[in-house]
Symmetry: C2
Subunit: 348 residues, 2 copies
Amino acid sequence: MEINKNRIYRIAIDAMGGDLAPDNEIQGAILASKNKKFDIDFEIIFIGNETQIRQSLTQYDTNGLRYSIVHADETITMDDDPTEILKKKPNSSLHKGLQYHAQGYADSFISIGNTGAVLSVATVTLGRINGVSRPTIGALFPTIGKKPTLILDVGANIEAKSRFLYEFAVMGSIYVNLTQGIENPRIGLLNIGEESSKGTEEIIKTYDLLKNSNMNFIGNIEGRDILLGSADVVVCDGFTGNVILKFAESITGLLKTKIKNYSKSSIFKKLLTLTALPVLKNIFRDFDYQEYGGVPLLGVNGIVLIGHGKSSPKAISNIIFRAIELIRQEINPKIENSLSPKVMSNNG
Amino acid sequence: MEINKNRIYRIAIDAMGGDLAPDNEIQGAILASKNKKFDIDFEIIFIGNETQIRQSLTQYDTNGLRYSIVHADETITMDDDPTEILKKKPNSSLHKGLQYHAQGYADSFISIGNTGAVLSVATVTLGRINGVSRPTIGALFPTIGKKPTLILDVGANIEAKSRFLYEFAVMGSIYVNLTQGIENPRIGLLNIGEESSKGTEEIIKTYDLLKNSNMNFIGNIEGRDILLGSADVVVCDGFTGNVILKFAESITGLLKTKIKNYSKSSIFKKLLTLTALPVLKNIFRDFDYQEYGGVPLLGVNGIVLIGHGKSSPKAISNIIFRAIELIRQEINPKIENSLSPKVMSNNG
């Protein structure tokens, strides 16, 4: 895969994924096509119910959007069991889109549907990158600094095996290097104390693996270090990562309710709250996970990005740009170079 | 242990524990003595360096405070390894205070020092309640509702064995019932999805144990449910609990920094921020973990409460009241009744 300015990047989008599908997916694609940030041509392949997609398209000004439609009979919902989707719904937009990507008709696949389903079907359909034990899903957290922190894994792997955690660190380091331009991303191992003796046996083993790697490992970090931005990449098992991600996503809701209750108690307090709104909105924006444009599924043989089910058109257009960036940056050959057994034995 | 209005409750306080020891401990005890909330007599036993304690006492009005001092040569610091304290510092204020409690000279022991050290020394010195496999430390989280949620474990046990998690639920349920007056506290099992098939093998086993118990088990809950107050008691392994607790404690810091940076960018924004201060302070108060008066160490043969190293005098006085409440409520016989094998076989 070579970087070619004249190349057209083909992005397959699961048009049936989100809470407002296919409208938001279509609006997101249109928004991306109107953004001149990238001097790059791309085509969107909408995968899903053709009638619904065509109906939705008539509502918007698609001038300038290069697109095609691939019909898929079935739709995955949040209630579908990720492990049974391929058997029960072989013709889903999710499966069809990933097959398109696997066969090379699309350079990337995006979905804002059932995350577990994307993980499961993508792993089977695309396969793993040589050297990767388990694909992983990362998420970006706001920090007091200028750059967010990437936490991985946030739910793909609940087992905290040392080899898995080591691979998450390698993939996260490459991802942050490519997307944020940080030369040697600081890798932190999430733990319950700073000492190398802390944590489970597998975490202690991970500490040694990371310490002996050529990554910029800064040691164990604790829960409080995430928002402080002490590390660029935070490695943890998918159970802990998933709980923190969902906890963090709920903070804005708590704050908003508290503010509402406060403002309701008197007219004076209501006025105070109104005056405070610009400050408060500024704070909430940092906790708006949509700003970051989806989370990457790293370790599969493809460029797969997953967005929140409630992703706005703007969030979806951000995901599209992130996908194009990852294709251009050739992230997967870089991951393979760092993890494949061949390379490891060559390096000693 | 019978409830006796004329009884004097004797509370041993590790006077060398916190960041501002022994001043804050002494001021906290004085504050408690001046609070007429409880119609109860209590005596504080300050454990620590007698010279330092006496020196500090001269600075304050101790009129009305009933106290005694027990000298201890050694002080535990945050750098001491919890597992080696008894060997290396047998005469620490921590050990001496817990011995006093174990021997019945004090009805409770409080420390705002090294949490791991308190856990370790308390478990050895006091022993476990009959039927308890592992003592646990809980923490209260703010919610959008009126009552906080108790999460346990937050660091005492990083292994998520189903039996341990089940016992945490029993102890947490009793604690919340006694301290918050909730008749059948809602128990939630922290997980990465609502379905009973989610999580590790041990968590799936825990789900069954809780489902078949006579507790008010509401099923699996996710990270986002904590601040929503979906459960009164949230059960998890100490690794996940510790990470979330420290993450939650760091939220205020992020918010304050964001507000500061916002206000710095222009005079207008500075004025706006000043106007917003009352609203903001109101929000921050809910995230102030000191309001809740320390965290309980449940499962040991004693009433042990642990406070944050930065606990204010007010926080310390809250911990003293919480200790008295737990003594009066006879929490430990209730835990033993629910967990000891004898009772279990009696019930079938």
